[in-house]
């Protein structure tokens, strides 16, 4: 379970103070597929960063799997990210010098699995995303959809409890986007909790629950209304 209570995030420079999240509260139960939508600058990415322990929160509490993770030190946060959270990014974020196998291997090495266990997990996940025959290909030798599938394999290899997806189809054509979303649906059906940040209505519609964020807060009202508002601009 993911539970944020009154979370605030303030970015400060010498002259400007920006409140990216204000008293943000949200609970996501195990096994849910939640989309987070909202206009540009609403705080979606900040929410994702905090949910993924990529950034500190300024105030409030954040519990992950029943454990308060809001005050963990950097090393402990890295460990929680590595063990419990899988990330899927809009621009895939594969490491260009590493082939498919080595890319998927990256988080597993930080987990300190032995070589045989890493190999087993990598092959299983890469096969699952349909790229078993491209294990030794570099990212540049793959299509956008294939790269995102590699990123999904990398996110799943550590068998995380939560999958955080940031605009996962933003750089894909509609055909590839559909196949990635189908894959995410299958992953969710297998029990992994997915939180997907997106500004695309069609994507939000594929989730089982939609959260609308505006001005750094979860907005009241029905998701349908928010989606309609979003569509209206």
């Amino acid at each position: 379970m993911l539970k944020m209570t009154n979370v605030s995030k303030v970015y400060r420079t010498d002259t400007v103070e920006t409140h990216a999240l204000r008293e943000f509260s949200l609970t996501v139960d195990e096994g849910e597929f939640v989309s987070v939508t909202g206009p540009s600058g609403s705080g979606k990415t900040t929410f994702l960063n905090i949910a993924g322990l990529l950034e500190d929160l300024t105030s409030g509490t954040y519990e992950l799997d029943g454990r308060d993770v809001s005050k963990l030190d950097d090393t402990a946060r890295s460990r929680v990210r590595n063990e419990k959270i899988g990330f899927i990014f809009q621009s895939f974020n594969l490491i260009p010098e590493l082939n498919v196998f080595d890319n998927v291997d990256v988080p597993l090495r930080y987990r300190k699995f032995d070589a045989a266990e890493r190999k087993r997990r990598i092959e299983k996940c890469v096969e699952m995303v349909g790229l078993g025959s491209r294990m030794r290909h570099l990212p540049a030798q793959l299509s956008g959809g294939q790269q995102q599938r590699v990123a999904i394999a990398r996110a799943l290899a550590g068998e995380p409890r939560f999958l955080l997806a940031d605009e996962p189809t933003g750089n894909l054509d509609s055909h590839m986007a559909d196949s990635v979303l189908d894959l995410l649906g299958e992953i969710n059906d297998a029990g992994t909790t997915i939180i997907m940040v997106t500004h695309e209505l069609a994507l939000a519609d594929r989730a089982k629950r939609n959260i609308f964020v505006r001005d750094g807060q979860v907005s009241d009202g029905s998701p349908d209304l928010h989606i309609a508002n979003l569509a209206a601009g």
Binding site: T45, L48, N49, G52, L53, L54, E55, D74, T75, S78, R79, R81, N82, E83, F87, F89, Q90, S91, N93, I95, P96, E97, L98, N99, D102, D105, V106, P107, R109, Y110, R111, L138, R154, G158, D166
Partner: protein, 403 residues
């Protein structure tokens, strides 16, 4: 360890890494051979001359009055000096070790023209020479006063007895076993002389001479207006006695001047000035090269961190701790350094073989290459610490920024 992925990643953009590896290799080759040269010079400089250097000094008396009774003057001077409290002994001689000027002679095992088998430096002295130079007599005996001759033209005089260094005795009689006392050899084609004593060590005046360990004491005092004295003092008395002896001789006879009062320590410094300068210059070059290599590594690592900021953020997002990122860059540098160091070792050995053949340099000591390897690994790792720490501090949130 991540050697495999790091190595494979490096192989996909190897330009910068190869340049740094090459720089490390060149530095290694130069460093190793510079150390070999410095080591050789340093060993040369630290060879003992055989005399009591800390307590010994030399000076020159130059008479300017015509028809001086030089024999009397030398006797008086030596009496005055030897009777000074604080003086152990003193002699009148033609030269002493490290002075870079003196006499040498070709030596024969049998009489006859063109049969020279060795050569030796020659020190004129009386029976006080052994004590003044503090020589270790291995066998035989000191000169007796009766054996000491006075001569105004020593070119025509060839002594019948000499005390030689062990190195000279071995060079003259390489196949001989047992005592050298009583062995005969010839000066200048046909002047025979007998060995009456063998001392452990007394270097020739020329430290660069290959036969520097070959010298002999000849029982002779030259009657001349130009006299070189060597004085040995009690420990700790040298500096005081230098001033006192200079003053004493200057006032005892005003028909001469006293000059060149110089402690053996200074003579040694002057003698090895070139070697000392060479060591300093090579040290500077090695330090400069190492610093340039270190800066090159810093530059490459900084560039690498700047170029891979996003990748580092991604790794952090995927669970890398700060320490893991630092370790990644340290390992990467270790691999680059290792390639350079291995190539540099081969280059260093090749260069050393060439220098041994061309310039008669001493072959590398076995431990120089391992030491240089360690030094360059340490320099490489130290150079990469700063950029690696900066990399470790990159925020994982960079992974979610568009780009």
């Amino acid at each position: 360890m991540e050697f495999g992925p790091i190595w494979r990643a490096m192989m996909r953009s190897k330009g910068g890494y190869l340049l740094i590896a090459l720089q490390i290799a060149v530095t290694m080759a130069i460093m190793v051979n510079a150390i070999a040269i410095m080591q050789e010079r340093s060993i040369k400089m630290s060879r003992p001359s055989g005399i009591d250097e800390p307590n010994t000094f030399g000076l020159v008396s130059v008479g300017f009055k015509p028809d001086m009774d030089t024999k009397s003057l030398i006797r008086e001077d030596l009496d005055l000096i030897r009777n000074l409290p604080g003086v152990v002994n003193a002699i009148a001689t033609n030269s002493y070790p490290l002075r870079q000027g003196g006499w040498s002679e070709g030596l024969h095992r049998e009489p006859g023209v063109g049969k020279s088998v060795s050569s030796s430096a020659i020190y004129f002295t009386d029976e006080h020479g052994l004590e003044t130079f503090a020589l270790n007599l291995l066998e035989g005996a000191n000169f007796t006063p009766e054996q000491v001759a006075w001569d105004s033209d020593s070119d025509d005089f060839w002594p019948s007895t000499v005390i030689v260094t062990e190195a000279l005795a071995k060079d003259l009689f390489p196949d001989h076993e047992g005592s050298y006392i009583g062995k005969t050899f010839w000066f200048n084609d046909d002047n025979p002389t007998n060995i009456v004593g063998v001392v452990e060590r007394l270097q020739a005046p020329w430290p660069t001479w290959t036969g520097v360990e070959r010298s002999m004491l000849v029982p002779l005092i030259r009657e001349s207006e130009f006299v070189r004295y060597v004085v040995r003092t009690e420990p700790g008395e040298r500096d005081r006695m230098m001033a006192e002896v200079e003053e004493l001789l200057s006032t005892s006879n005003t028909d001469r001047i006293i000059r060149g009062v110089r402690a053996m320590e200074d003579t040694r410094k002057l003698s090895y000035l070139g070697d000392s300068a060479m060591i300093k210059m090579l040290t500077f070059i090695v330090a400069l090269l190492t610093a340039i290599t270190g800066l090159g590594i810093v530059g490459l690592a900084s560039f690498s961190v700047a170029r891979r900021t996003r990748q580092i953020g991604i790794r952090r997002a995927l669970g890398a701790t700060k320490a893991a990122i630092v370790r990644y860059f340290m390992l990467e540098n270790f691999l680059v350094s290792s390639v350079g160091i291995v190539a540099g070792s081969i280059l260093a050995i090749g260069l050393n073989i060439l220098m041994v053949q061309q310039f008669a340099l001493t072959p590398l000591a076995w431990y120089v290459i391992p030491l240089a390897m360690m030094a360059l690994w340490i320099v490489g790792q130290a150079a990469v610490v700063g950029p690696a720490k900066r990399a470790g501090n990159i925020s994982p949130a960079i992974a979610t920024r568009s780009g």
